[in-house]
Symmetry: C2
Subunit: 469 residues, 2 copies
Amino acid sequence: MLNDADDALIARLRAVLPPAAFRETTEHYTRESRDRWRGRGPVVAPGSTSEVAEVMRACAGARVPVVPFGGGTGLVGGQLKGEGAVPVILSLERMTAIRDLRPEENVLVAEAGAVLADVQAAAEAAGRLFPLSLASEGSARIGGLLSTNAGGINVIRYGTARALCLGLEVVTAGGAVWNGLSRLRKDNTGYDLRDLMIGSEGTLGIITAASLRLFPRPAAEGTAMLAVPSPEAALRLLALAQGQVGEGISAFELIHRQGFAFLEEVGPEVTLPFAEAPDWSVLIDLGLPAGLSPDAALEALFEAAAEQGLATDGVIARSEAQRRALWAVRESIPEANRRIGSVSSHDISVPVGAVPAFIAAAPGRLAEVGEFRVNCFGHLGDGNLHYNVFPLPGKTREDHAGQREAVKRAIHDLVHEMGGSVSAEHGVGRLKVGDLARYGDPEKLRMMRAIKTALDPLGLLNPGAVLPE
Amino acid sequence: MLNDADDALIARLRAVLPPAAFRETTEHYTRESRDRWRGRGPVVAPGSTSEVAEVMRACAGARVPVVPFGGGTGLVGGQLKGEGAVPVILSLERMTAIRDLRPEENVLVAEAGAVLADVQAAAEAAGRLFPLSLASEGSARIGGLLSTNAGGINVIRYGTARALCLGLEVVTAGGAVWNGLSRLRKDNTGYDLRDLMIGSEGTLGIITAASLRLFPRPAAEGTAMLAVPSPEAALRLLALAQGQVGEGISAFELIHRQGFAFLEEVGPEVTLPFAEAPDWSVLIDLGLPAGLSPDAALEALFEAAAEQGLATDGVIARSEAQRRALWAVRESIPEANRRIGSVSSHDISVPVGAVPAFIAAAPGRLAEVGEFRVNCFGHLGDGNLHYNVFPLPGKTREDHAGQREAVKRAIHDLVHEMGGSVSAEHGVGRLKVGDLARYGDPEKLRMMRAIKTALDPLGLLNPGAVLPE
């Protein structure tokens, strides 16, 4: 049984932490963007790894749960514990240092509280690229991004957060420190605890710092938005692009007409690239080495695509401003979605080749539940779609509140039948604990529970996230 | 306490497995290339995943240990258990199927017994690249390569075996099957058991099949060997090359003059590229997209390097035969080493930027032990050196048998002081269990033992490898 974080615990913490470590429990820590969960508990923001260890030891002694808190941008409730014992909310916000930056080794060591945009900027100032990029990069923090194995737009080229990490420093459930902040490219000495911690959503340890991989910046970049006749055509266009420019594709995003319609309906105001929105379009980003022109490559791609009937229209950005304008369309869609208000949102993946079949089959499953609008967009190159379901015009998400679970079930069942994942890049958090139990491999779940018990026998670390409390 | 694999167990296995599954215990299964260990035990070669599970369940019931056996090419004794209870040697050699091949998705699913060269060939026949490449590729099998997280020459561009795997099928210690053979590029549903199994050297589960990543083949490839004045210059040449050709560098190998000398002394016979062997040289492989010429890129690189004093001589391959000849030099060095007979071999890594400092400091440490010849070569781009220590001419490894441990300690201590790894790509096996205990982070070791106990409570899986029995 766990205990609440009470005054006695706070008194113990005040004895070992400076006053600056104590924070008011504001809504920043207790609400999330979709307002699905409410968190609670005192907020403690240690200033160093040893202070994190002090907090963990105090909580272990008192059997009080701990919820690690980064930027608070998670979409699955992993950062908010509203039920059971009241936790300490352990915010990493004061640990923002970039401890080391070695452009010649393509390595940057950041503390867990460093904001992604700041890490990107530090890499850029050193002539390097840290390629993790997603909508919340202005507030998401490195610890949270790693603990959820964040994805984003550049995964097709550079992989998820996991692929960008060389080593970790972690405070364990018992309040010890594992110093795994390696700068090594190769190290086969024992089990891969780094990747076990990455994606474990704060349930196996608290990431306090990370050694991150940097990359050379591509010599030249280019962007185009092409109208495609169908998702099948988009997939064939991807194969064509891979054949023509190899590994130079940095992003390959699929956008449905509904996204443009939502932008026109509720904003944010952006310049749409086509006079009439096509049913489907793709946004392509290229980053090429010296000696190759992204514009020429995109023109050659469009020409070949048009010849094969894979593209019907297209816009190639002719300036950095035009590149940003094309990306603004893609990046404004999540905000438009929020303004419309979804009945249910789904962060799913299927094998890349199965994306068209999924898009073809999903409306039939939804029709068995009711009438909806669907905004389907996402990272085609990763087989990762944000398949979000909205009310018809004139209705609201509240009108469909009773159907939410049925909608989710219909989509997730289809994903599961197709060998897909019901959480491609957002994680399990508290939202998908039931889905994991329903769809997960039983033997995998058994091993996960055994590992959780082995590394956190008292169940102190983020209880209720990933696995049931 | 574990029991020996005795006649009663074999009788039980004969009841559930076909006769074809039983193999004679030849030296293939009980000796390794350096003859440091001898294995023993009956050999069983199941023909399917369910047969592997049958073996595991029978062994669990009888408390008999199991040693998974792939190609038998491991260099650290992980495949040979010579002490304690006699194990079942579970060979994956009959599970060689390529279960699925989807070039359009860049995915290949192979069983654990598939030989690396066969997987490479299957990918090539489909117009794709499976980039894992190492000296033993003609006999090493996929299961062993993944369980040791094998490296090789293309890690700088494509990563280690870990980075090339999308999913696994694993038989657990209890004889259950985890079906994690995902073709997904993104899947954040729960703990990363895939990467935990990869590199665990058969101590946490038995890999029976893997879903592997394929890549587009570079449009054109080129190879050069450049003489460099020093390891520092080699490192600066690497940075120069990364600046000029970005991510197009597929391999960047450092070779010391001693390697050429050994080849001349004992063979194998190869054509050496320089009339007089330089102290240091690098072998560079480029793979570039369409529109770029590797030859031109290598010429431009050599020109810039010569101008900056980073290269004093060079050979650029002008044909596929010349490319192969340059690679034959590099690939023959391990065989020359075997013919000379090392006192102690070290598969170490340090941060890439620290390679020159390591090479400068190591001879001083060795001199405290005795007089030796050193052949230092390896994957400079990964900070991974094979730092192998040999007797002076006229002496043999046996003459130095009493110094072997002191040599190893001297090198490994230095590596540890420099933040490096005493096993960069070969694994821990039985050779480096003591090193892991000596140099490993105590908290990491504690977590490893907890995970081992959680997933294999009876200690059946490859006991004595990675962790002490």
